[in-house]
Amino acid sequence: MTTTPSTLPDGGPRTHYLNAAYGLKSWLLTRDHKRIALLYLVSVSVFFALGGFMAVLIRMELATPEGDFFQPDIYNRLFTMHGVLMIFFFLIPGIPAVLGNFLIPLMIGAKDLAFPRINLFSWYLYSIGGALTLWALLHGGVDTGWTFYTPLSTNYVSTSVLTVGVGIFIAGFSSILTGLNFVVTIHRMRAPGMTWFRLPLFVWGHYATSIIQILGTPVVAITILLIAAERVFHVGVFDPKIGGDPVLFQHLFWFYSHPAVYIMILPAMGVISELVATFSRKPIFGYKFVAFASIGIAVLGFLVWGHHMFVAGQSIYAGVIFSVLSMLVAVPSAIKVFNWTATLYKGSISWDTPMLYALGFIGLFTIGGLTGVMLATLGIDAHVHDTYFIIAHFHYIMVGGAIMGYLGGLHYWWPKITGRMYPVFWSKLSALVVFVGFNVTFFPQFILGYLGMPRRYHSYPPEFQVLNVMSSAGATVLGLGYLMPLIYFTWSMRYGPKAPANPWGATGLEWQTTSPPPVLNFETPPVVTTAPYTYPVAANAPEVRSV
């Protein structure tokens, strides 16, 4: 990346993490958490673009009831790879590896993460896993669905299941190591005075996420090994023809993959807490409730995997237990939404771009969460299970929630990351276009699902066409909404106006250092004396934020 050096107020050039060294080697061998975050930013953007492109092709096929655009085997590969790339290579690493990596040391007043080399190694693991998965994509792809249900995935398809499995396996270690790095950093490297209850809620969100990454990811790794054992050595684990139990796979898979949903949403919730506080210029209402809600979600999240299996042949009494536990998870999520809303009360609210994304998040996450409650209700799930209702629900959480949070966070910290501002008009327009496009795409899918359109159908009965056309049209708008930030962020890296240290008048330690930060983050080691979000900001009073 070429960035012209910033200048000190007296006009002299200032050394920061971006201009401290140049050349490919200075990036690929860096141990600076900020540079590693940018490596991740580039990688996850590539996977997001690929996954998004597949979504476009899927929506093209579904514009007509007949399977006329692709053959079914190609269509099945498309939705499988869309899911695999988006979940394992974009959503799970997304916010933690990009924003978390960049910000956690800055927010707690540390020079770097606890294990800088492991941090770089994590990026390499992620990249190797991703490269293997892309290689598999070009060599036959995989058509099991991202859920890899057995015995279909072990004994009935001949596509690159193993290669993709190994890709996910390797990338999983990247996730485990990142979580470990965060936990140790948060425990051991806080600046003097940065007590646990002075941590920004973004850090609490990532702490909860890290717990899930460390405890959950090994289970999916073991599951992949068992799949390999069955596919390669015909050890009967999951296929009943050789003595296995196919439902066992679902237990193992969802024991990780349900908490994985919280890996995607908890960091986004952390971002939203920062945005709501900053753009209301007041502390988050009920800081401790919001902080502990993150931990509560992480812990309860491990006890609800069976709600993916209400109709999978598990005992109906098991279904009852998993249903009531799933209801309990909704409580901490509701607490967060109410607390964010209450924070706005008597705030000093600005309508800057990141705040628009945050409000979009609150709206979409509320719908996503409440439809999740419907799915936790046994009698409703038994009908809408594996229909477009569930597709709509989890896109409201993952796209409406996690991606809105990710984009809101990028817009918020972009000045800190790059030292540049981006165009106000275009960025506000992008927030609006994404919000509208998203709803037009996914709201019709709730209705489609209740009408009974099953997911993963390449062709469908003609009465479902109208809603599918609406959804495809919305996807076009949504795609445009995502292209806009890509364009103006790229533009801003070279041409954007220089950003001040604290363009939003925010309180966090990351805003007390320069933009972009120096290599070791702070010119003088910070000392923390107040709770987070204590306004007014004393020394570094609100600066000009116009562009």
Partner: protein
Amino acid sequence: MIPSSPVLPDQASDVARSVDHLMLFALSGLVVFSTLIAVLVLVFMVKYRRTSANQVGIDIYETNPKSHILELVWSVIPLGLLLVLFGWGTKVFFEQNRPPAGAAQYWVTGRQWMWKIQHPDGRREINELHVPVGRAVQLKMISEDVIHDFFVPAFRIHVDVLPSRYTTYWFKANRTGTFHLFCGQYCGVEHSKMVGSIIVMEPRAYEAWLAGEKTGPSATGVASGEELFVSKSCNTCHRPDSSARAPVLNGLWGTQVSLNDGTKAVANDDYIRESILNPGAKVVQGYQPVMPTFRGQISEEELIQLVNHIKSLKGAPAEAGK
């Protein structure tokens, strides 16, 4: 058949109506809460928008002792509503999953990518199920390969069809018509072609259909259970006399069987199927595990015939009942 409503699928059973009522309740909760949040957010956004560059918000949490009460209120009220929804949902789920006594038993075999269905009288059809209106129908389902799922939106219930054991689906259609049958679990290349119809008929029309010449694919060459019992040589050991090397099967159905390892098992569909495929898994007390496995030598449809045959064997259970 085009549904009569653009947002509600056909409602063809009492259970479907229960599900719709439950959904309506959940939906009204969704509308109330999301409207509440949306209105509050928009009102605050406008009312408290920043009017000068240095303006800051007012922290009401620390100064107001009632803040903690507020936190409790918006934790406890949602929790209460969630538990109501849970209870109601569970009640409906039991309705969906518990067939009434005396339901007519049909058999369903799923395979990539078709549904094979057998009526109580042995008649068979593919991808279509004709049933009389107003009669409770129970489906015992099994898959020959991967996991499938029996899904009829008009009845508002999905049940996975597993390759390892029988699962049960039931419905009682309350109106005539033709309704979609979908495979609801992704099962490979032609998953979206694993579809069919449930044709609900007036009882008289159903009788006429059963009696009619229109046999369809009924003659699929599956031998009857009685024939299989002989051709697979089951009868050489499982004889209804005391000198047999294997347990007597007459009257076995539904009884509790004592096993070699001291545990007990109920002689139901799954027990019999397992005993044929994996005879060593549950050996009846007092017998040697000498029976060979029939895994790979017998199809799921043949297994259904055998299970049905053994179920029909009447007579006093000589030893099994002890």
